[in-house]
């Protein structure tokens, strides 16, 4: 896996491409929120956006931390699958607070090995909310792997949460996966 990840893409992503990829993901998310579909269908649609635009593998690996390295590929696959549904439900519900708002996607700046794309959510009647997206093309495609809402880092908070869930199950990854399928 590590070997595949290390392959340098033939064409490195530019700042403009990073912004465009995020704008596409944001437009899809807003489209779902404003569609007025019932929640269950919305979560399915969010899971689709997540699979198409996010690096689910990197997010899952990073959220689980060192334990991910000790897992066999099939149970990590199950974990990643459970993470997809969990993230779609949990963040899908939070995104509904953006109902009726406008999100402007700004410029990208280089950060470590990836791009940070700035965006601003304009919710009427309150101060604009800044959402920063971290996006990389390490998979060969532009995929985001983190978002930071007014300073609150999604990966950092999921690291804490997933590890608290794992600790509650005394390190039993199978039980964690079962819990994740219910959570969010």
């Amino acid at each position: 896996m590590g070997g595949v990840m290390a392959v340098t893409p033939a064409h490195a992503m530019t700042a403009a491409e990073a912004s465009t990829a995020i704008r596409r993901a944001v437009d899809e998310v807003l489209g779902i929120i404003n569609s007025g579909r019932p929640p269950a269908q919305m979560y399915g649609a969010f899971a689709g956006v997540f699979q198409r635009h996010a690096d689910v593998d990197a997010i899952s690996r990073s959220a689980l931390g060192p334990t991910a390295r000790q897992m066999d590929p099939s149970s990590f696959g199950q974990f990643r699958e459970a993470m997809t549904g969990y993230v779609a439900r949990k963040y899908g519900r939070r995104f509904q607070e953006f109902l009726g708002s406008r999100i402007e996607v700004g410029a990208a700046r280089p950060l470590k090995s990836f791009w940070a794309v700035d965006s601003t959510a304009y919710l009427n009647g309150r101060s604009p909310m800044r959402v920063e997206w971290h996006i990389s093309d390490k998979t060969g495609q532009p995929r985001f792997f983190n978002l930071i809402i007014e300073g609150v880092n999604m990966l950092a908070s999921e690291r804490e949460e997933i590890n608290a869930m794992l600790a509650r199950r005394k390190g039993d990854v199978g039980a964690l996966i079962a819990d994740l399928q219910q959570a969010g």
Partner: protein
């Protein structure tokens, strides 16, 4: 007498040290007990109240071009009264620009906004509220955050921010000498009610953190710490999953 909280803040903030980017939590056992209390209070009182408010439709999310709901107006009124204190803090921080903007905001909303019920400064004059507090002033003066605290009713804080709250509440509200007791009470009530409105509007996020997390104490602490560092424009280290 007026200097006591400041001295208190300085001495408190000296107590706890943590590696950069992290926050010391030497009072964790006590904080966790307070957290359990706050969580129970939210489940039994605040959440049901917020649901009632939401049920009325009074706190529907504001939509462009529509007049604000009742909750929105109450919130506007409360936050308008908090502006003069923010102006004083910006000046104490040596930041004239936010002080001037919040002064104009206060002037516009108090007059055209009918005593602060409406927000023409934000919608027509591009003067959104610039938030600050005495905790930030202490930060600008070089006081470290000190230990993490979870306060009853008020929620997550730090030693420095608690000292800041005390000063903001008791000392540096310029309206103190202008308003009558009834007006002050109305202002405080408006702020409390608007908290309930926020609880209704951001209900699912609060529910998710407080009632659905595996460790809601740790989540609350992380969220508060990160957001506070962001407000104070402190650099946060980015996670690079491709370099791990």
């Amino acid at each position: 007498m007026r200097l006591v909280p400041v001295v208190l803040a300085l001495s408190l903030a000296g107590c706890a040290t943590a590696p950069p980017g992290e926050i010391a939590d030497p009072y964790e056992p006590m904080n966790r007990r307070v957290h359990a209390f706050n969580k129970a209070l939210d489940a039994n009182l605040v959440r049901p109240a917020a649901r009632m408010v939401k049920g009325d439709g009074a706190s529907r999310p504001p939509v462009e071009g529509q007049p604000p709901g009742v909750m929105q107006m109450v919130g506007n009124f409360g936050s308008n009264l908090s502006l003069p204190g923010k102006v004083v803090n910006s000046l104490l921080q040596g930041r004239p620009e936010p002080a001037v903007k919040n002064t104009f905001r206060f002037a516009v909303n108090t007059t055209l906004g009918l005593g602060g019920l409406f927000d023409p400064a934000g919608s027509d004059f591009a003067l959104p509220e610039i938030d600050t507090d005495f905790g930030e002033t202490l930060h600008v003066w070089g006081v470290p955050s000190g230990a993490y605290l979870e306060l009853p009713l008020l929620g997550p804080s730090t030693e420095r921010d608690l000292a800041g709250k005390i000063v903001d509440f008791a000392l540096i509200d310029p309206l103190d000498n202008v308003l009558t007791d009834e007006q002050k009470l109305a202002g405080t009530a408006a702020r409390v009610v608007s908290k309930a409105g926020e609880r209704a509007q951001f209900g699912s996020t609060v529910d998710s953190v407080l009632h659905e997390s595996a460790d809601s104490y740790a989540q609350t602490r992380l969220l508060y710490t990160q957001h506070r560092r962001y407000e104070l424009k402190q650099e946060e280290d980015a996670i690079d999953p491709y370099a791990e």
